[in-house]
């Protein structure tokens, strides 16, 4: 099977506009989540990780969502030695709700529908950067980012493309916030992933990009070794009671990269801090025999960035592998009783080789990927 390498990455979030800036803030325990009082979004005060007002704004040319993607893509493509206009390069965009905030501010009609349409955003952005192939948009709830990476990996493995640029973004507005509030799923304070007293999510804005390539860069590299997706076939808005289906995806990804449980050095969980999500993930991790492996959730730093979350968390995990440093789970302090997993609450510095990244979402979907660090290929 052809190998797939992460050759460049970017995170554009309230914590910074490069991966390095973002990682530095996580090391220093700085979060983007804070309390907001914005009546346009919610009658009540709420906690979220949002860009400063006016930082990315819809204008005549681009929507806020498109500005976010462009910012992330510009930073990553600047100075990268990849021929974007190559026929063997494709752009994949990951988002959960894209331009939906325009419903709140713009006049309804066919023009607005066209502006919201994700294939139009993708096409405009692809043209802006000079991609020649039709872009692919993934919209698969909260696992969109991982589905986009897995799709890119398979397109390279099957030799359809040599390079895949995967970019994801989501914007938080009244539409999304009111929806999660209607589910009683939003925490009244900072979220507490995997904590015994966890009480819901914080939402967050962000964008992230990775370039996947069949060409191995020099020196130490991060490989997207494998990935798998599964469905609970149980409930559209509640996770599996057993975690068996996420476990299936984890097992499939580990098998495909020939790794055993003892080979996994840390797990980057979805960890939304809702009661049911975290419990289901803990069950799946336990079924995989990984309950003693250090596990983190980054939602206490970024909130839930929806279609960007899988990418942001995979990129931080890749940076953890490079720096041999596991980021702690901000917001976690008290271990729950059922299915205890090894939630990382302090910075851990140790040699790291393999990371499991998992995510789950509405519609009963689950995804797992394996990131592996390897030295110069001596063969």
């Amino acid at each position: 099977m052809k190998k797939v390498f992460l050759v460049a990455d970017n995170i554009t979030s309230p914590l910074g506009t490069t991966t390095a800036q973002n990682f530095e803030h996580l090391i220093n325990d700085v979060t983007g989540v804070r309390q907001h009082d914005d009546k346009a979004m919610s009658d009540e005060l709420f906690f979220a990780s949002l860009f400063e007002k006016g930082y990315f704004q819809t204008d005549e040319c681009w929507t806020k969502f498109e500005h976010l993607l462009i910012a992330s893509l510009t930073e990553i493509l600047y100075g990268v030695d990849k021929n974007i206009s190559d026929k063997k390069t494709v752009l994949i965009i990951s988002t959960t709700k894209g331009n939906i905030s325009l419903l709140e501010t713009e006049e309804p009609g066919p023009e607005l529908d066209a502006r919201i349409a994700l294939h139009n955003s993708a096409k405009k952005i692809a043209q802006h950067f000079g991609f020649v192939n039709e872009p692919i948009v993934v919209s698969h709830a909260c696992i969109s980012g991982l589905v986009a990476m897995i799709t890119g990996m398979r397109l390279i493995q099957s030799s359809q493309y040599d390079h895949v640029v995967v970019a994801g973004a989501d914007v938080i507005s009244k539409f999304v916030l009111s929806g999660f509030q209607s589910f009683q799923a939003v925490s009244p304070g900072l979220c507490k992933p995997f904590d015994a007293d966890r009480d819901g999510i914080n939402l967050g804005e962000g964008a992230a990009t990775v370039i996947l390539s069949a060409e191995r860069p020099d020196g130490e590299v991060i490989e997207l070794a494998s990935g798998a997706v599964s469905n609970d076939a149980n409930h559209i808005s509640g996770p599996s009671r057993t975690g068996e289906e996420l476990f299936y995806a984890i097992n499939k990804a580990m098998d495909a990269s020939s790794l055993k449980s003892e080979d996994i050095d840390f797990i980057s969980a979805h960890g939304t801090a809702t009661v049911y999500n975290d419990e289901m993930e803990a069950k799946a991790v336990t079924l995989a025999g990984l309950q003693d492996v250090p596990l983190n959730s980054l939602k206490g730093f970024y909130g839930h960035t929806l279609g960007a979350s899988g990418l942001i968390e995979a990129i931080i995990s890749a940076q953890s592998l490079r720096q041999n440093t596991i980021i702690p789970t901000k917001g976690f302090s008290k271990q729950g009783d059922a299915n205890p997993v090894n939630v990382c609450s302090q910075l851990i510095s140790k040699p790291l080789g393999n990371c499991l990244k998992i995510a789950s979402g509405f519609g009963g979907c689950n995804a797992a990927i394996i990131l592996t660090k390897s030295q110069q290929d001596i063969s």
Binding site: T96, K97, G98, I100, L103, E104, P108, D113, I116, A117, L118, H119, N120, A122, K123, E134, I136, V137, V138, S139, H140, A141, V147, T151, R154, L155, Q157, S158, Q160, K174, F175, S178, G179, Q181, S182, F183, A228, V229, S230, N231, D232, A233, N234, H235, I236, S237, E245, Y248, G361, F362, G363, G364, C365
Partner: protein, 204 residues
Amino acid sequence: MNNQYYISAHCSISNNLVSYNNEVVFEGAEQDIAGFLLSVYQHLGIKYPKFYKMDNLAKLGWLATEVLLKDFDKTKYQPTDIGVVLTNAGSSLDADKRYYDSVQDIASPALFVYTLPNIVIGEICIRHHFKGENAFYIFERFNADFISSYVSVLLEPGQLQACICGWVEMTATGYKAVLFLIEKEGATPFTTENINKIYSTANG
């Protein structure tokens, strides 16, 4: 991709017609979209109360899958061996607008959950107990090239045994579903040309 896969069935729902393998199996009377979808449901004679809770996109994909799988013996496969890969142009915009209209009054979680295009996949998986690979992609128009090449990758040895794939689009004024059941044996080869031909000739 040296392996050959086959279209073992296909189903189209558009223009008030439901077709299975090119044969019209139901023709609705002229009425609104919700009324037409309900008439298809009643024609099929299935009792599935969850149907009534679904948004129009989920109903359309769910009904098309019911027809598509009428001769399918899923017991041949494990639940994780069967996948669903769907595409459209408008994502869940029809449900998005209905949800946002509710927000002015009181935000409805029952409407919010359908503001994700992959929920139609979730509904299909719940109904048929499919647990394999699933993904929802957005394209400007039916992308036969992507579907045939990507689904073929998913069917490679050690991966899926069967995959439901195709197009399912719902707007305020129109709808179109063209779904394919792809397996490892059959008569019609799963090629870009063949699915394009079926898509473009679906119900006129």
